[in-house]
Amino acid sequence: MRKKLLYGALGVVVLAAAGLMIARALQTSLVYFVLPSEYARDAASFDGRRIRLAGLVEPGSVSFDDAQLQLTFNVTDAIKTYPVTYKGAPPDLFQENGGVVIEGQFHEGVFVGDNLLVKHSNDYHPPDDGQVDVEALKESLR
């Protein structure tokens, strides 16, 4: 009987420790997927966190310093626009008005990305009048 009680108590302690560890790990490693306007609405809550910033490459904003391998461009959802820097060559099919997802962190207003994905889906076309359907854009970039 005492043995059973001991095993039971041991089990509870182990489970509690595991639960705590898992909760902490989840908290620190959740990466949110947001559009620039969503980030702007709630910037404080993403402070110091890694996020996946998704949007379209603003036309005319792309420049690539091939000596330093520094790619800079603006990412936009037509509501809000942020500057992005990325160390590396522009990936295949990277183009103006094309969909991108950048993983990284904001540093003083500039999004510093370390992973850049080009989304070449045909589901989304920016309308001519400049109005953007944010939900459709987000769906096409996920």
Binding site: I22, A25, T28, L30, Y32, G88, D92, L93
Partner: protein, 665 residues
């Protein structure tokens, strides 16, 4: 009029469904009414089902090889200019074909069980369960994902399979291994169900399926390592495991199957853990179905996902049915299954096995949680999130370390209760191994926690394996007065399972060291190289000598020749390139790897190559000891094969099925 392949294929798929359904119904009726004629009929239908499914496979392969674009699957996924091997493996390069392959392998295993499994009261039920599973797969194939639809206006050519898949020959190996693993583990699942139905929860069902279990586990292990190597060679980021949902869902059933492979031994030897074993194999099967649902429904986003369609919901429904029926049955039979024996001491073989079981289950749970958590968050708050690799690393690394710790001590512990004397001296040696190896790593500059700890635990495990071998060999040498090598040979011959398990455990140590160092000490940089110019990277001088273009019928390769020098010494020339397959404008970066025992040098082109290109951007990765993961994987497969090989006589003699059956009755 010529008979169209699509019509024949569709007919075979429908017929296979009908035969499987008949077999399942006849099997259940025959087994429950004890009607030998029905039971035999069901058994024969298993063989018939396999023959019909084989017709479907042959039809699909002929359609692929003869470029018959009137068959919908061929029109959607094949291409005339593809090489023959690509056409052959296109069978499993997309959703419908992969279900056809899976269903065919399942029908093959069912037929094999029907043909060779020992006669036992469990067999009719086990075959019926397998036919039931088969019924589901052929239902999906015939009604929801029929690859044999006849196109009235066939195209002249198709787009070819996914470029990432045709870019590497591993595509021919990895998926087949995976399905062989999943299907193989269906056999112990079916026997466990049969054991529950017939109220025979003893060790009989697991002894009868011992080889199937081990073979299925071996295939699944090999599939996971092979998949890692495929990612490494193809995906261009220099890694092999990204905790991607599709990778995770293949790992989960492996984790529970690994727990099962260990805990069955406790039931065989000590008649304990009966409900645990049944629950483990039910969980393993359910997880393989859940994984199929997740990867084929589009609910998780992944680089390898199959896209959406009606197949996903069907697998979800099947998953729910499997869970309800199998665990419902377990609950209904609880009184028969429940354990009566108790653990004598935690410090015993069974104690260690139980411990390692808990660890593997914790790993499976953590991986499941991390994989499904984004779905939960999205359902609750609408936020889209991903759970990054840091979660999986933080949670699983400590558990993996504990697994390595138990792996060393477990096999040295006797059943029931360990004597303190021998335990202490063994532990002292092993801890010495840990300290010496860990200290050596520290002295050589390994200052990161997990790599240093892994080296220490590797030393500890090697000492443990040495002690195990010495404990087996020294008394035999004294007795036989023969040289060590001869004794070792005859010992290895007589104890295949034990020696096989030692090889597998050693392979795990090798893999662990490879993973710890390649993950912990990886150097990953973007390097700019002018054509004709050089750059330094980690003691290497990389020189881009010239651009090249290499067109073949199957693809066009364009890349750069990179001369690799170490100091003044010429090492090799690597050819990182971008492959473009006909019918697509998407370039597939194809890395070039210098494999070395101490570390790999991995070059992947990150910029386009065109006439007039004056510089290229390379992603250059150095991963220490990464090759040892593939070596360890091969060793693991060899160890498993060794344990499986050899004569079945010893096993047969120990089981003696009729005797066991008589005892049970």
């Amino acid at each position: 009029m010529q008979l169209e392949l699509g019509v024949v294929g569709s007919a075979a798929a429908f017929l296979a469904f009908a035969v499987a359904l008949y077999g399942a119904v006849a099997g259940v009726l025959g087994a429950s009414r004890r009607d030998p004629r029905l039971v035999t009929s069901a058994r024969l239908s298993a063989v018939a089902g396999f023959l019909v499914a084989t017709v479907a496979i042959v039809v699909m392969e002929s359609a692929l090889l003869t470029d018959d674009f009137s068959v919908s699957y061929v029109a959607q996924h094949s291409r005339i200019s593809s090489p023959v091997w690509v056409k052959v493996v296109t069978l499993w390069a997309a959703l419908e074909g992969s279900i056809l392959l899976w269903a065919w392998l399942l029908s093959g295993y069912t037929a094999l069980v029907a043909a060779v499994a020992a006669l036992s009261p469990l067999r009719p039920w086990a075959i019926a369960v397998m036919q039931g599973v088969q019924t589901f797969f052929f239902f999906v194939l015939a009604f929801l994902a029929n690859p044999f639809k006849v196109l009235p206006n066939p195209p002249l050519d198709g787009p070819g399979p996914n470029e990432l898949l045709q870019n590497h020959w591993m595509m021919a190996v990895h998926p087949v291994l995976m399905y062989l693993g999943f299907v193989g583990l269906t056999v112990p699942f079916a026997y466990a169900m049969a054991a529950l139905i017939t109220r025979r929860p003893g060790a009989e069902w697991m002894v009868l399926t011992r080889r199937w279990t081990l073979a299925g586990w071996g295939f699944l292990s090999a599939a996971i390592v092979a998949g890692g190597w495929w990612s490494y060679e193809v995906l261009g980021w220099g890694g092999y495991w990204a905790w991607d949902p599709v990778e995770n869902v293949s790992l989960m059933p492996w984790l529970t199957a690994t727990a099962f492979v260990h805990s069955v031994q406790v039931q065989e030897r000590r008649h304990m853990l009966k409900p645990w074993n049944v629950a483990l194999i039910l969980t393993t099967f359910a997880l393989s179905v859940l994984g199929t649902f997740l990867t084929r429904s589009g609910v998780v986003s992944s680089v390898h996902a199959f896209g959406s369609g009606p197949v996903g919901p069907a697998f979800l429904a099947f998953f729910v049915i499997v869970v309800l029926v199998s665990f419902g049955l377990l609950a209904a039979r609880w009184e028969d299954v429940k354990d009566r024996a108790e653990l004598d001491s935690l410090v015993s073989r069974e104690g260690a096995m139980l411990g390692v079981n808990v660890l593997f289950l914790a790993l499976a749970f953590a991986v499941l949680l991390g994989t499904l958590f984004p779905l939960v968050v999205e359902a609750i708050s609408g936020d889209r999130v991903t759970v990054g690799p840091p979660f999986f690393d933080q949670v699983t690394l400590p558990i993996w370390m504990l697994v390595l710790l138990l792996m060393g001590i477990g096999p040295l512990l006797p059943w029931r209760k360990a004597e303190e004397q021998s335990l202490r001296s063994n532990l002292a040696w092993m801890l010495a191994g840990l300290v010496v190896a860990g200290g050596l790593a520290w002295a050589l500059g390994v200052r990161k926690l997990y790599p240093a700890l892994t080296v220490g635990l590797a030393g500890y495990n090697v000492v443990s394996l040495g002690l195990l071998l010495a404990g087996a060999l020294v008394p035999r040498m004294r007795l036989a007065k023969r040289p060590a090598l001869q004794v070792l040979r005859s010992y290895a011959h007589e104890n295949r399972r034990r020696v096989g398990s030692m090889v597998v455990h050693f392979a795990v140590v090798v893999i662990a060291v490879g993973v710890a160092f390649s993950a912990g000490y990886r150097v990953d940089e973007q390097v700019r190289l002018d054509i004709g110019g050089s750059a330094e990277f980690e003691g290497y001088t990389l020189t881009a000598t010239e651009l090249f273009v290499d067109p073949t019928a199957a693809r066009v390769s364009a890349g750069v020749l990179v001369e690799v020098r170490s100091g003044d010494r010429f090492v090799t020339t690597l050819r990182p390139r971008i492959n473009v397959f006909p019918g697509s404008n998407r370039g597939i970066p194809t890395p070039a790897v210098l494999y070395r025992p101490s570390h790999d040098l991995y070059l992947s082109l990150n910029s386009n190559v065109a006439p007039g290109t004056t510089f290229v951007v390379l992603r250059v990765v150095k991963s220490p000891l990464v090759t040892w993961i593939w070596v360890g994987g091969a060793l693991l497969a060899l160890g498993t094969a060794y344990a499986l090989g050899g004569s079945t006589r010893r096993v047969a003699a120990r089981v003696s099925v009729p005797a066991a059956a008589a005892r049970e009755a």
